[in-house]
Symmetry: C2
């Protein structure tokens, strides 16, 4: 009599899928530019400690936050977040249009599941966030890739993809885009392009999932309004997160959308209310003004890191390599020339102890081999320079045979 | 040109399912015995505040907890929890066999999804936790009901259900049970029954999902070992939670099972790592000994509430009404006589402003109309007595026409 956990005892979906790359800590000799992890030295620990102490003395507030509660989210955080979003967007947050999630990592599959059935098509801008590629695949949604150009999502290509699907009698359930400080490319869609995209999507009745994790972290000038702020039809679903401006470990994000969408999103939120304790602490941190001033600190700091990485790339990269110059966010997107031996470069990067995200992780279809995503968020300026130097040596080894 | 969020724009599953009953706060004139919410006056706010202050001064610890991280969970909490479980179960926690979840509310669907495909059958003890009924239904798993008797799950009935399915060429993916301080019934399965159940399941290769939310809250004597502690085949998956012993709003629970199960469970955890911040705070609270002494306080307090409710029921209930006498946990299960007019009782309960959970919520198939679940966790003793008094009046109105 013996029992074994053979593969047939599990859900068929998990039998085919491998674990995604995880942002785990790497040993100090390695320079990791792979993940969009914020630098822990920038976590507002003292501010959170003070907020926790204040909040845990306030019985009416903590008795709600520590209890089971409304799946829409903790009222203190919802109130503070609505104020921030109203200021950001210049329009009121309607009742029922906001819900708290466990980071935008949870918001993504909640929204994808709420909007699509297994087998439904969606339009996916590419390259894109690796988590999105994984969540779409895991939920058995069909991703129709639409390319970016240097101003963001190519609206003409969206129209063409819609026509192709329509000719097959199919309607995509949503379009996924990261218009501001794009992950992985780093660019931002200008206002005119935003308006053209909204116009096209409204005409075709195509909901837009606007993933907006980096908006607060602008360097040179404030970015254009969100698609959600510009939307007059209620078709934009905006996702946001506290991971980059507070810390990933608070596990707080949000969805801002038509109440009909929020209602459905809730139904996929298995754990009911989301992180009441962390919500109360972050809500209290916001209320005190702590978050707003912390964001100022982050902007200056990450701007310095971006500058350090861009200067180092200009110094270290051989001819033929190109890269983007982000005006906010965490990422630079590097393009290798077509003749580059990418396998050799990858091998040399291992020897040099420098890590970047392979571009293939940012596509649903195996493309991206001649791209690398470089995150400048985790490493201080001197390590970014060192990383660029090591990367330069590795790339040169794959260009000159 | 107009856009509308018509039902066909959403996942088919959410078009049919209504929102579950939620443990929302009720106005003070109502005596709610409906939900297994702990009393907020028993939340260890000072202990959590102290733990947060300590933890947020310790850079190495908080830099890990506030970062993205390993989906298995925060190392501080995993370490403290493993120590507690090893003490509870008298056996080592094997590496890779424990993962943190967002309460057991999240653990349930993660485990159900990992073990079953849509359409797969499972065996479900009934009556059961209402969240379980909902998660099984939402994940399109077929629930085959197996009854409880006064010693817990009826092992003979499990065997019969297995035979029936086997004759149809079907194999249930798991058996779900709450053997200790059962929700909603309140009873505990004795040791002999546990061994008999394990023996049967091992012979049939049937995994057991052991939901164990209330174990620490025993009143009269320590409960028998968990099924997981007694299992020599690796087929028991134990779920637990910090919701009842710390607070629901920390959103922390766990799964303890064979590493092959844990690995698959992770893949359904969309948000990656679970609540690092709350994990660090609760882990630090455990490390200081705060949780262990808090559990002692809770035991005495909830025992007093159970006693108050049982005495009040003995005073207030008319002849023909019966109820269970739990030795731990949060619940009493009330049975009305067959001739009771349940619609009239429900209407009178509304007038009397007393709320209990209708027994029908605890079955997957509409049964349970002559039962009510009474939770003694949220209300202090004097309100429990008042609730029983109101309930007695309502029930009498439905018995004597």
């Amino acid at each position: 009599m013996s029992f074994a956990w053979t593969p047939d005892r599990f859900n068929r979906r998990v039998q085919q899928i491998s674990q995604p790359p995880r942002a785990l800590p790497s040993p100090p000799e390695i320079v990791s530019l792979a993940f969009g992890s914020p630098d822990p030295r920038l976590f507002p620990a003292a501010g959170l400690a003070e907020a926790a102490a204040t909040a845990l003395r306030d019985f009416p507030a903590y008795s709600v936050a520590l209890q089971y509660g409304n799946p829409i989210g903790n009222p203190v955080l919802l109130g503070e977040l609505a104020k921030k979003l109203e200021k950001d967007e210049g329009r009121p947050v309607e009742p029922g249009s906001l819900t708290i999630t466990s980071g935008s990592s949870q918001a993504l599959p909640l929204v994808f599941q709420a909007l699509a059935d297994p087998g439904s098509p969606c339009l996916l801008e590419t390259p894109t966030f690796l988590g999105t590629v994984r969540h779409i695949r895991f939920n058995q949604i069909e991703a129709v890739a639409v390319p970016l150009d240097d101003q963001g999502l190519d609206v003409g290509a969206v129209g063409a993809a819609l026509d192709t699907l329509s000719a097959q009698g199919r309607r995509p359930r949503f379009l996924y885009t990261i218009p501001t400080f794009n992950n992985p490319v780093g660019m931002t869609m200008p206002l005119e392009r935003r308006l053209a995209l909204l116009d096209l999507c409204a005409r075709h009745g195509l909901p837009i999932v606007e993933d907006d994790a980096y908006r607060d972290l602008w360097f040179d000038a404030e970015p254009p309004p969100t698609l959600h702020a510009l939307d007059r039809h209620g078709l934009v679903i905006r996702l946001g997160t506290f991971s980059k401006i507070v810390a990933p470990g608070v596990r707080l994000g949000f969805v801002l959308a038509d109440p009909a969408v929020i209602e459905r999103v809730q139904m996929f939120k298995a754990e009911g209310v989301t992180n009441g304790f962390a919500s109360l602490v972050v809500g209290t941190f916001m209320k005190s003004g702590g978050l707003a001033s912390h964001i100022e600190v982050l902007r200056r700091d990450y701007q310095g890191r971006r500058d350090a990485l861009l200067s180092a790339l200009a110094r270290e990269m051989p001819d033929g390599v190109t890269w983007t110059r982000p005006t906010g966010g965490f990422f630079v997107w590097l393009t290798l020339p077509p003749q580059a031996d990418v396998a050799r470069i990858a091998a040399r990067m291992k020897e040099e102890q420098v890590v970047a995200l392979p571009g293939t992780e940012c596509y649903p279809d195996g493309r991206g081999s001649h791209h690398l995503r470089l995150a400048f968020s985790l490493q201080p300026p001197e390590r970014l320079a060192e990383g660029a130097c090591r990367l330069g040596r590795a790339i040169r080894a794959g260009l000159h045979k």
